[in-house]
Each structure stands twice: as C-alpha cells, then as structure tokens.
Amino acid sequence: MQRIGVFVCWCGTNIAATVDIDTVVEAMKYEPGVVHASDYQYMCSEAGQSKIKQAIKEHNLTGIVVCACSPRMHETTFRKAAKAAGLNQYMVEIANIREHCAWIHKDRKEATEKAVVLARTAVAKLNLNTPLTPGESSVVKRALVIGGGIAGIQSALDIAEAGYEVDIVEKQPTIGGKMAQLDKTFPTLDCAACILTPKMVDAASHENINLYTYSEVDSVGGFVGNFNVKIRKKARSVKADICSGCGICTEKCPSRKAENEFNLGLNKRGAIYIPFAQAIPNVPVIDRDQCIKFKTGKCGLCAKVCPADAIDFSQQDEIVEKQYGAVVLATGFNPIKLDNFDEFGYSQSKDVITSLELERIMNAAGPTGGKLLRPSDNGHPHTMVFVQCVGSRDTTGCGKTYCSKICCMYTAKHAMLIREKYPDVDVHVFYIDVRTPGKNFDEFYRRAAEDYGVNYIKGMVGKVAPTNGKLLVQGSDLIADRQLVIEADMVVLATAIEPDQTAKSLATMLTASIDTNNFFTEAHPKLRPVESPTAGVFLSGVCQGPKDIPETVAQASAAAVKVIGLLSKDKLMCNPCVANSNELLCNGCSNCQHVCPYGAIDYVEKEFRAGGKTSLRRVAQVNEAICQGCGACTVVCPSGAMDLKGFTNQQIMAEVDAICR
C-alpha cells in the first residue's frame, strides 16, 4: 500500500481565488492511500519544496501528489524535490488545478468540485505508480544548423567556438540569407554587407564548421543526442573542390533569360551563376531549367572556357547521412506573395515595388548600382509613397494577422536614406501605427519624421492606380480627416513576412510543432523561448516569430548556448516512461512491431517452462533506448502483454474511474 502525501498549492491567488483550498485538502484526507494532506501559498518556492521534503521524511511517504499548475510547468521541479528527499522521482503526480481549473472557471463551487476530482484522479493514478529508473543514451557531439542566414551563421559560429563540430545546411547556393540582400541596417545605418560578409567568411573558414550549400534536409530520424539526418546535396553541375571561382563561365554563358533571384527579378542572370560577388562558397551553380546544354544538348560553352575544367554536366544529387546531437532551426522568412493585394497595383506597374526590392535598388551592388531609378523607365523619381502594413495586421483573411515587426523601422530607414541622398524627392509614408519598441528605435523614427522631413500620414491606402506613367495613390488622412490623392512616381509596399515554406516539412520531419502561421512554437513562450517542445531541437531567428537583426543574433546565440549545454553532456537520461512487454503473456503476433514508428520492438525466441514442459516461444522485446513512449503498441496488443510505464492501462483506467465516481 502506498503512503501518499497531497500538497495543494494556492499559487498566490491564482488558484486560491476560485478554488477553496481547505475543501480540497479535507477531501483528499479520505482518499485511499493518502496519509498526509497540506497546503501552502507557493509550493514551487524554496519554502514550499522544503515543506514537501519534510513531509516525505516525517510521514514516510512513498509518493506525492502536487495540486498546482500544469505539469508542463513544474513537474521537473517537484520531481527534483522528491528525489532530494529520497523518493523515486517518478512517484510524483501533478493535478493541474490552475490551467485546467482555477483559471477557466469563475464559479467557486464548481471549480472546487473539479479541483477535488482532479486531485483524486492523480491520487488514484499514483496508487498504481511504481518507481522507474531512467536509462542513459549517448550524445553525438555534433550539431546541425538548418538555414545559413545570419541566425544560422551566428548559432554555428558560437557552437563551433565552444569546440563542437557544426554543419550548416543551406538550400540556396550561398550562405548569407536575407541579410545579404539588405543595403543598410537600422537604427545605426551600418552597411549590411560590411557586418555580414566577414561573418560568412568566418563561418566558412572555421575548422569546426562544415557548409552544405545548395543542399536540403531529406529526412530526420532518431531523437535528442542521436538524430540521424539525410542531407541531399543538389547537383551544382560544378565540381566545388576544383572550381577556383574565377567567374569566366558566368560571363560567357549565352543564356540570359533567367530572373536574378538575388535581385528579386529586377534584372537577369545567366544559366550558370554565382548569386552575388561575396557569395560563400564562391562556386557557381548551373540552373538546369535555363541551361541550353540541358535543354537542347548543344552549347556547353562554360565547360569550354573553364580553366580548371570544373564543369560537370553529369553530376547527380548526392545523399549524405550523418548523426547529430542537436538541431538548430534557422529557416528564416520570405515576404508574402502579393496576389491578394491587387489594389496596390503590384502586378500592374513596375514602379510599385516591395521594400526588399527597394533594398536591392538602393544597394551599390544591386541592379541599378545603388542609384534610385524608376524600374519602368530608369527615370529619377520625384515623389515616393510608402505603404505600411501590406498584409500585416490584416484581419480580412487576405494577409497575416500578426505584426511583421520590422517594417516600421526599415521604412523609416528607407525614407531617411532617400531624403539624405536625394533631397528633391518628396517622401510620404502611410501608416496605421508606427511601432518602434527597441533601443534607439523611436529616436531613429523621429529623426526621419522631424529632421529629414518625411511626411508621415496616419491612414490607409485604398488604391494605387497606374495612370499616364504616374501612380495615383488614393488614401485617407485620419488625423486631418480627409481623403488624399498623391501623384507618385514610385510606390513601396512594406510587405508582411512569413516563415519560409520549408518550415512546415521540417516541422513534420523533426516532429517540432508550428503554429497556425507556420512559425515554430517554443517550449515556453517566456521561459524557454529558444527551445522547441521537441527535445534537442532549438529555434533561431525569424522561423520562431518576426524579429529584427539584433534580436535574431541574440536568439541565435541563446540557441547556441542551449546546444552547447546539451553537447557538453556525455550521457543523457532517457525517458523511463517506455513500453515493456510481459513475456509470459506475449503471443508473438508482431502487431506491436508493425505499429512502432521507431522500430524499437524486436522479437526473440525464448524458452519457457510451464507445467513441467519446456517450450520455445517468440516474444516481443522493447529496446528502451529507442522507444519514445508513445504507446501505440499497447493498444494493438491482443493479449495485453504490452504496457507503457508511467501510463499503464491500469493507471489510466484508475484515472477514468476516479473521474467517473
């Protein structure tokens, strides 16, 4: 028989305001197995924990039930406390009377009744608990970073500096990500390339970092400490180890029809190309859809001019299989497609551009060499209109409901740069709100509005109509309460950002969860912001939520620290709540083996003695290091031989009974 202690937490007034603590404590005293019940204001505090430890020793308890917040919050806390008092840490059950009771019910009587039921359910389960011992598993001392933008580069550099091997997988031919496309960065106006490209070089030259560019993650198996990842190195058609990066092939390529993705289609590139001059690795790639050799079999000019003989038209995709201890997701973002926002005329006029396109136009290495030119006629614009929140904070269903966070600041930057370089250009900004939370951000915005004479108009734009080579921008000025029509030469749309589309497939591969907007979810929104709920998977940068460069770098380093912490361990404690089979009951049907997603179940021939006879039977055996404890096998077992430790059939039945009593 168990000797159970029940501890009811007030959680200040969080629980105590709606649940009558005394009633719960009193009711628990009459539950089977309970020898002690008490309450305290904050069970998770040092004092609360020592109260628990004391009670365990004093009453010789064999298990404890803590009625408090969600087990996802403090289960480990109370397990540690129980362990410190000499109890097996799996003899702890939590009754969630805060999130699942006190916080959602207003009626005190109803909430108290429910709290009693939840507490007695936990007691009923604990009565059937047995001490569990976690196994150990090894840790592969290598990390995988998916995404080679500033987030991925920073995470990789920090992990590599700590002495661990890191592989970066980037699907583009070069690392650098979105930041490489930017011109200047707010609020200091440093040039993006000047601060990014040295980091790219550091990453490429670091002895602990291995780059897989133009590569994608094909599949992920395994679990924390032992991820087994297949990386597909797409065929570049150029031998990277021989290529000297001279670039003659890219100059001679006769195909000039492909849109230059790096410049967002503002100009054209060859079929063999290097995305940009500072690309890393500085190795070209052949776009097989555009290459004349691949389309017609003729040409092959690049191979003829290559001094190193590095062109290889027969190159195939290569699969690399590697083991990793931890995975950092740094998949970044893309601006949304503007198909749903035709009122802004993006598809009708070349002079309506997105902010990222303006970055390329402003960039000295961009399609216009850094001159502000109208894309339609290369003329000098005199009036420019910026439209904020295009697709952000949109509740109509056309765009995204969230704030993209970076647009207010980069628009202030664009407006300021344009006014500084071309004082003759009138700049108007239509905004819903200007949001500038960040160090020196508001000062920056004020400088744009006050010192640089940027005309900020609070209101939305209803329509952009291309008329006689001009753009008629119809908008409202909410403060002056009037409708405006501005004749503009260029319109810049502050387009909402969304997670890269690879996020969804990676989430499935890694069983990391994503939210309705496809941003990766963190283990806890406040206390564990860089960890995914899936052990061993960490989040870095915009793939978790919109953020600017300083925040991205901060999060990237934070994720790196978490990875280093994990990789520094030689052994990891395994989850002891795994399946186990009762060999005496097992009938050898193999059902469990078929449903196991991890291949953790093997069948072995074993001798059994019964009734004086010895017989050889085939029975299931669970490999505890591989089993993740989902319990799929327990349900398909026709003889009831398979059970899940910590969530046994009997325990769950007891919980059902305790609820329906």
Partner: protein, 150 residues
C-alpha cells in the same frame, strides 16, 4: 417530458495528448478561455495511447461523453500516432453507435499547442452537444453519478 437540462450535470472525459492538446488546454487556461467544468482531462503521451477499452470504461462508469484530442494529422510528436488513434476511434465509434450510444457522445479532434482558442471552442461545442443528448443511459451506471442537488 424529457429530463430538465437544468438538473443534468454531464460528465465528460477528455483524453489529451501531452504534446499538443494538453498544451493547448494549458494555453486555454493561461488565456483564461472558459469551458465547462464538467470536462475533466486525462493526460496521455499520445492520442494513440488511448485504448478503446478506456472509452468503454468511461461510458460504463457513467461518463456522458468522451473526447480524444491529439496533434493535427501530420504533426504528431510520434510521427504517426494520431493516424492510429483516428482509425481506431472511427471503428470504435461506429461500433458504439451500433450498440445505441450516439455517435455525438464521442469525438476525435485535433488541437495544437498553439490553439488555446480552438481547445476552448471544441470543448464548449462538445459539451453543448452532450447537454442536448442528455444522460448516457444506455451503458452508464447511474449509481456512479453524483446525486443531483436541488
């Protein structure tokens, strides 16, 4: 005359998977999104851990409704668990229907860890349905019910 709904206090058992729906329920709590107190949650590692026996047991013991909530299809923490749960429960529910336990008393739904709002909506909706159906008399042992207070 049917039983007056005022007196009817249903009993609903919700099996929630640890990774998505239980966390969704936590988020509903943190966001103070109310759903009826008659819903009591049992935490299971995965929706595929829910043995049809548990559902039957709940009905036998007097539960008026059983809902199983897991990760969205394709998002299961254990890759395929929720698919098993969906198939198993489809079979079980049609069998229960054949026995005379209305299909609406059972449900499988998907709530992710980020969907606190959906959790509360699903639970409110399910509870409303159970209120409409009334007491589970077919399989329920009414002696297990709490006495109705006047």
């Amino acid at each position: 005359m049917s039983i007056e709904n005022k007196e009817f206090k249903p009993l609903i058992v919700a099996f929630c998977c640890n990774w998505c729906s239980y966390a969704g329920a936590d988020l509903a709590g943190t966001s103070r999104l109310a759903y009826p107190a008659e819903i009591k949650i049992i935490r299971v590692p995965c929706s595929c851990r829910v043995n049809p026996m548990f559902v039957l047991r709940a009905f036998q013991r007097g539960a008026d409704g059983v809902i199983i909530a897991g990760c969205h299809p394709g998002d299961c923490h254990y890759t395929t668990g929720n698919y098993y749960a969906r198939r198993r429960m489809t079979l079980l529910f049609s069998m229960l229907d054949f026995f005379g336990i209305e299909k609406e008393r059972t449900r499988v739904d998907w709530v992710s860890a980020a969907e606190g709002v959906k959790f509360s909506t699903v639970m409110n909706d399910f509870s409303k349905k159970i209120h409409e159906l009334g007491e589970n008399r077919r399989l329920g042992d009414l002696r297990c019910k709490m006495p109705i207070e006047k």
